[in-house]
């Protein structure tokens, strides 16, 4: 493991514990998309720290380029520590499909960590999901879609606050989302959101 990554995991555990709870599946070496509620800047790190070391090697968090890609410490953490996949959030900068880097990562066999709300919410429970998860899921039907609920992190580092306070957080992994044929986008996204909410 890279030293920067080990240091990050240690810091995250000291701050928020990030205790894993494998409720619906185990920490297995299969290709997955972990999708979670998004309430703070520590979310990515918490899921990352909750994964066993072997899985971390092949699991890449998806991060917004406008926040994590601007250089400095944040970029260093995202790129060197977490091996993140950066994507464009702002529509004006788009050229082609913004999900293209994610397709490439999945095609290369990596697992992903994504936050389908697209932005951080103020509440513990997630808001409506954006369509990225649907597109990823339909293009890669063999990849497991694992819902994740992050408890308490909205209290550790609420939106608009730049320094976290220590709180014990559990990271709950649910059962992989069953695939339904012929399901439309809205129904799928609502079902996926429901799977995260069910872990709360």
């Amino acid at each position: 493991m890279r030293p920067s990554s080990a240091l990050l995991v240690g810091l995250v555990r000291l701050l928020v514990g990030a205790y894993p709870r494998w409720l619906g599946c185990g920490p297995e070496e299969v290709q997955r998309i972990y999708f979670a509620n998004h309430t703070s800047h520590i979310d990515t790190l918490a899921i990352w720290a909750a994964l066993p070391r072997g899985l971390r090697r092949h699991t890449r968090p998806v991060a917004a380029r406008d926040y994590w890609g601007r250089g400095g410490l944040k970029s260093y953490i995202a790129l060197k520590g977490l091996n993140a996949v950066l994507i464009e959030r702002a529509r004006t900068e788009q050229r082609g499909d913004p999900l293209e880097p994610l397709y490439a990562a999945l095609a290369a066999g990596d697992s992903l960590i994504i936050f389908p709300e697209g932005t951080r919410g103020a509440e513990a429970l997630p808001g409506p999901f954006r369509s990225g998860l649907f597109h990823l899921g339909s293009r890669f039907p063999a990849v497991q879609l694992v819902p994740v609920y992050l408890e308490n992190l909205h209290r550790a580092m609420p939106k608009g606050i730049s320094l976290p306070i220590p709180l014990t957080c559990t990271v709950r992994f649910g059962a992989p989302l069953p695939r339904a044929t012929g399901e439309d986008k809205a129904a799928f996204l609502e079902r996926a959101r429901g799977a995260v909410v069910a872990l709360a």
């Binding site: 209290r155 606050i161 014990t168």
Partner: protein, 314 residues
């Protein structure tokens, strides 16, 4: 005997005791027949395993000296406060005081002990933190539940930082004829408190019938308390040679430590249940959280510290 020789004898005794406990757990596991009994034995064995780890950490800190012991207790405070705040329904407006508590109050309190500032260390949290924590919260302009939110944070800081810090604070006392041995007194306090917890648990499991306050703490019984009090006080008296006390004084000090520890366990159990939890956390296998282990220390340490200071410090 030099302090180091005393420490080695002490560790020898503790290791022997733990080895015996591990052996008993091993035998009991083979005799447990019903699932309920197996659960009790599994928990017992987990507790003993955690004790080995805790004793090892504590012993290493002792050998590394005063600074390491202070850092160890600072981390104990940190994790205990983290558990307390996790169970407390805090709001966004509590962020500033909580940040202050974790990252300013904890280091400051232990640095004051390290710098031998008795006068500041005893009033820093009860005066300055008491006033400034709610003041910082008020700046965030959220009057909802303000008093109860402030009170919970003040309580959390008093118990987890102020009270617990009195255990390593024993190192700043000047006790005539006991120079250079104060770290042993920290060890003594923690040992008597923890032994009394263990003995109350053992006597309670074996003979416990009359519950003291079943809604607050279902496992505390009159028989467990009396058995724990008698056995821990006697062991405390028998270990007078690592303290500045005579055997009789050690008996009295231990009895007070056990009594305070019992009240601490009971009171913090009530606090924990009023926050809707059974355990403070999951850090220590078999025991629950840091505060499940430190609850009795938090009540015993300040009283032990002040009694030692009044009657034995120069």
């Amino acid at each position: 005997m030099t302090p180091m020789a005393k420490f080695q004898w002490l560790m020898g005794g503790i290791v022997a005791l733990l080895a015996l406990s591990s052996a008993i757990g091993w035998v009991l596991e083979r005799r447990a027949t019903t699932p309920a009994k197996r659960d009790v034995v599994a928990n017992l064995r987990a507790r003993v395993r955690s004790w080995w780890v805790m004793v090892a950490i504590f012993a290493v800190a002792f050998l590394l000296g005063k600074g390491a012991t202070l850092v160890l207790f600072a981390f104990a405070s940190f994790f205990a406060l983290r558990e307390f705040i996790t169970l407390t329904p805090t709001r966004r407006g509590d962020h500033k005081p909580l940040f202050l508590a974790f990252f300013v109050l904890i280091p400051a309190q232990y640095l004051l002990i390290g710098w031998d500032r008795y006068g500041v260390f005893t009033i820093f949290i009860p005066v300055y933190a008491f006033l400034l924590l709610p003041a910082f919260a008020a700046l965030d302009d959220d009057p909802d539940e303000f008093l109860s939110r402030s009170a919970k944070i003040q309580w959390a800081v008093m118990i987890t930082v102020y009270c617990i810090s009195h255990a390593p604070a024993l190192m700043l006392l000047d006790i005539p004829g006991y120079e250079g041995q104060n770290a042993l007194l920290v060890f003594y306090l923690v040992l008597v408190v923890q032994l009394s917890d263990v003995m109350q648990y053992v006597f309670g499991k074996l003979f416990g019938r009359r519950k003291i306050a079943p809604r607050v703490s279902p496992s505390k019984t009159v028989e467990g308390f009396l058995g724990g009090l008698a056995s821990a006080a006697l062991i405390g008296a028998a270990m007078w040679w690592i303290t500045p006390f005579t055997p009789l004084q050690a008996l009295g000090m231990s009895a007070i430590v056990v009594l305070m520890g019992f009240l601490g366990g009971l009171t913090l159990s009530a606090v924990k249940r009023s926050l809707g939890a059974k355990d403070w956390g999951v850090m220590i296998e078999g025991h629950g959280g840091m505060l499940d282990r430190m609850d009795s220390v938090s009540f015993a340490a300040p009283v032990f510290f002040h009694l030692t200071r009044y009657f034995f410090a120069g």
